[in-house]
């Protein structure tokens, strides 16, 4: 089907959505209501299309995507697990989706109860008592937590704490968030086992240290065994430990950040509690913190007074807001529904199966693919195509693109940065054994193929490899009639 753009399909005079005539008494021309200097004669040059054209265009576009409902999607760290359909049905309930954010609390008691429960659930799962549901995505959750940390240190008069320590295997948002919260970033090395290099940490920690941002399990898929020593060290120096919660899927009901010494964490509701990813959002990034950090959380927080729920705004030490209105409700509702349908045993089973599947896939692959950091992992692991590249001229990217031909989305590549030619694979708990077997078989068959053939992959998709350099050199970011 066609890939013409909306604008190319446009024909003057075509209409899809029709509006009713005005039913209020005619008050004359528009310029009688608003002075002409504010008005524009003609509306913006949007495309003109009939309904069949709108629907065919976007329906056909949709078929040019892989997605969880059609393909296995082992995108490490992104936790692309199946999104239960019951969540979609609930989130569409008009008595939830139709609430205006500025209605009074008396008219939103059902909503507030869900949100209040969600605060409690996230608190219990992290082992940290206070929760803010406001952040719009994981990265904003990180940032919010660092705002909280900055406010805390300011409140304590410790404005000299300017440093945020970040492992070299961390997500790229960590240092970016630190910078935006006004901190300087110090990188901590990984050791040969892929864990935080304790000696390096010790050498860099000092009285200027504000926060250590750690991902645990880390992005290599390993549990930081020395986590207690690390958190003790930070606390001994008056610093805080921030837990990047991107990998929470591995430890639900198994171990809790609050119990291993983290002071703050964010969640990716859309990963751990399976909000659909929407082709790049919306996310939702609630944070949980220790008691002494609670006063700084953004407002509002849901509180329960007797049997009534209310939004609490009156929190004098709050950092304020990181967005307007309450938060990414639609995703929070799905996360709440997920937790309610799984219960404590189900949540623990999620992590058990996520880790089981990752270890099984690792076991299937380890003879053919180098996995630099051991033969066991948590919910994901990182293979390296370094040797393949050297010996057979097969890069991680070539493997990825060829996997697409097999009907599998590619793993995360070239991340974390500490592994050369990294292929970061996270099968998640929702995939079955047959899928993992088929995926491993495809990966193993690929390394036997001719490198020149792989370099031209994919061979069966809508397009071949795009020219990314050209895209960046002279960016074309919108359609223009002459383009």
């Amino acid at each position: 089907q066609s890939t013409e753009l909306l604008f190319e399909l446009s024909k003057s005079g075509r209409r899809c959505h029709m509006l009713p005539a005005s039913d209020v008494p005619d008050a004359g021309k528009i310029s009688d209501m608003i002075p002409g200097k504010y008005l524009k004669e003609t509306p913006p040059p949007l495309p003109e299309l009939g309904e069949i054209e709108v629907i065919r265009h976007f329906t056909n576009l949709s078929t040019r995507n892989m997605c969880i409902d059609t393909n296995f999607y082992p995108l490490g760290s992104c936790t692309m697990k199946y999104n239960p359909k019951r969540h979609e049905r609930l989130a569409a309930n008009p008595n939830f989706s139709g609430l205006h954010p500025l209605q009074d609390d008396a008219s939103t008691q059902g909503m507030l109860e869900v949100l209040w429960e969600m605060q409690n659930f996230l608190s219990e799962i992290s082992g940290l008592p206070a929760v803010s549901l406001q952040p719009a995505a994981g990265a904003q959750g990180e940032l919010t937590a660092l705002f909280v940390a900055a406010a805390y240190f300011r409140d304590k008069g410790q404005t000299h704490r300017r440093k945020v320590l970040v492992p070299d295997s961390a997500h790229g948002t960590n240092p970016a968030s630190a910078a935006l919260a006004g901190f300087e970033t110090v990188t901590i090395k990984s050791d040969a086992n892929g864990l935080v290099d304790l000696e390096d940490l010790k050498s860099k920690i000092d009285e200027q240290t504000a926060v250590f941002m750690i991902t645990n399990p880390n992005t290599i898929g390993l549990f930081e065994k020395q986590i207690r020593q690390i958190t003790d060290l930070l606390h001994a120096h008056g610093g805080l430990v921030y837990l990047d919660g991107a990998n929470m899927n591995a430890i639900l009901g198994i171990t809790r950040p609050g119990d291993f010494g983290a002071d703050m964490q964010h969640y990716n509701v859309h990963k751990t509690f399976t909000g659909p990813h929407g082709g790049g959002g919306p996310g939702s990034g609630p944070i949980a913190v220790r008691d002494f950090l609670a006063p700084y959380l953004p407002v509002p927080i849901v509180v329960k007074k007797g049997d009534q729920f209310a939004l609490e705004f009156d929190r004098p030490k709050t950092i304020g807001r990181v967005r307007s209105f309450f938060g990414t409700i639609g995703i929070l509702l799905r996360g709440w529904a997920y937790i309610r349908t799984l219960g404590p045993d189900g949540l623990k089973a999620v992590s058990e199966h996520a880790v089981l599947n990752a270890n099984y896939l690792l076991a299937l692959l380890k003879d053919k693919y180098e996995v630099p950091h051991g033969t066991r992992c948590m919910h994901e692991f990182v293979a390296s195509a370094k040797a393949l590249r050297r010996e057979k001229k097969i890069s991680a990217m070539d493997i990825c693109k060829r996997l697409l031909d097999h009907g599998f989305h590619a793993p995360t590549v070239y991340f974390p940065l500490v592994v050369a030619e990294a292929l970061m694979m996270e099968p998640t708990e929702t995939e079955n054994k047959e899928t993992l077997d088929a995926f491993a078989k495809a990966l193993i068959s690929i390394v036997e193929e001719d490198a020149a053939y792989l370099q031209k992959a994919p061979h069966t998709l809508n397009i071949s490899r795009p020219d990314e350099v050209k895209a960046a050199k002279t960016p074309i970011l919108k359609w223009a009639p002459t383009a």
Binding site: P175, G281, G320
Partner: protein
Amino acid sequence: MLAKIGIHSLEELWESIPAELRLNRALNIPTAMSEIELTQHFSKLANRNRAAGEAVCFLGGGAYDHFIPSVVDAISGRSEFYTAYTPYQAEASQGTLQAVFEFQTLMAELSGMDVSNASMYEGGSSLAEAVLMAMSIAERRGEILIAESVHPEYLATLKTYLANLHCDVRVLPTPGGFLDPELLKKEINSNCIAVAIQSPNFFGHLEEVEAIAEIARQNKVISIQSFDPISLGILKRPGDYGVDIAVAEGQSLGTPLGYGGPYLGILTCRQEYVRKIPGRLVGQTTDRNGNRCWVLTLQTREQHIRRDKATSNICTNQGLYALRAAVYLSALGPKGLKETAELCLRKAHYAASQLTGISGVEMKFNRPFFKEFTVKVPGDVKSLLSTLQDDGYFAGLQTGRWYPELSDCLTVAVTEKRTRAEIDGLAGLLKSTLSANPSGKKQKA
């Protein structure tokens, strides 16, 4: 599977987690519910909410009860869109990439600006990110001027974002219901980096965008406007006024009220700032066979490569809601957008005339407005609103909640969905309530 891994029990999966760190009890959350139970439970909770659809909604303040054509839900309900991830693998994601490229084009056309990114979280943080962007353009720290008539929650967000960046936010008062350009002229100085306004503003009124953009330009200060996408069916666009960065809450473009989220942040700017734009961008290119295709581009700006030099940490954005906006605008087209805007305008002005026809009710500000306006009412606003709500009307926002000096005001929003009967109903009820009890408190039977 255990045998293949070489273990004998699931318990062995956790051997890398020190035993003393493990949770040796079940999580203290409710036990599992089947779908039937969940549905029944949720339905009970839903009955404890009163949705906009169950009352007549005149609430606005950055979230509006516009009509969503069925085509929007039909497309965004396709799982190829909503269960896909960020389009990192371009070959397997052309659907999302092309849709986002179309969104970017639509946003540029809508706002009259040169470039749009792939979306932001929502309106408030978009404004904050626009200011961060201005700081990055200016390559220095300095003062940010912002009109008091900007959405108070956007202002709060901005303040939080800038709290640790040694950059002052100075709020310029708007006693006339808008930022007086003369005041700006007085207050602007060489330390300023950006001036931010919202038009139509929180009170519903239009700002003097042209004059303000001009003053900013003359002072080499970045001008930032937060706009209402629907209003651009009839109003001049940010690009027409020459503003530097235009942001918006895109909820009006096909997103349900949803108690405030997920919403859609829009950020557009002039061409010269393209490499300073936060968030993701989709660019056009060709594949190896010369076919037109789309990729995520200029990713070097993003935090996962620049890391600690990033000036924004935004990563995941609002892909699905950008898609909804693209479908919404495709469904409306230029004529549909214009008609929608005109209906909002006409109905809002009719509502204003009906309400101000009631004794004691008058416009608070004498300024042009689009679909929202602020009136002064006699008596206690909070109990008045509560009375009207009991009778099925969310009559407006209690303006004093954000502006104590406007504690006698009501901000009323009117979309194309409101009918004459509903507007007359509100006016009639307000009149009878006020005349029965000028304090605004209805006597219960």
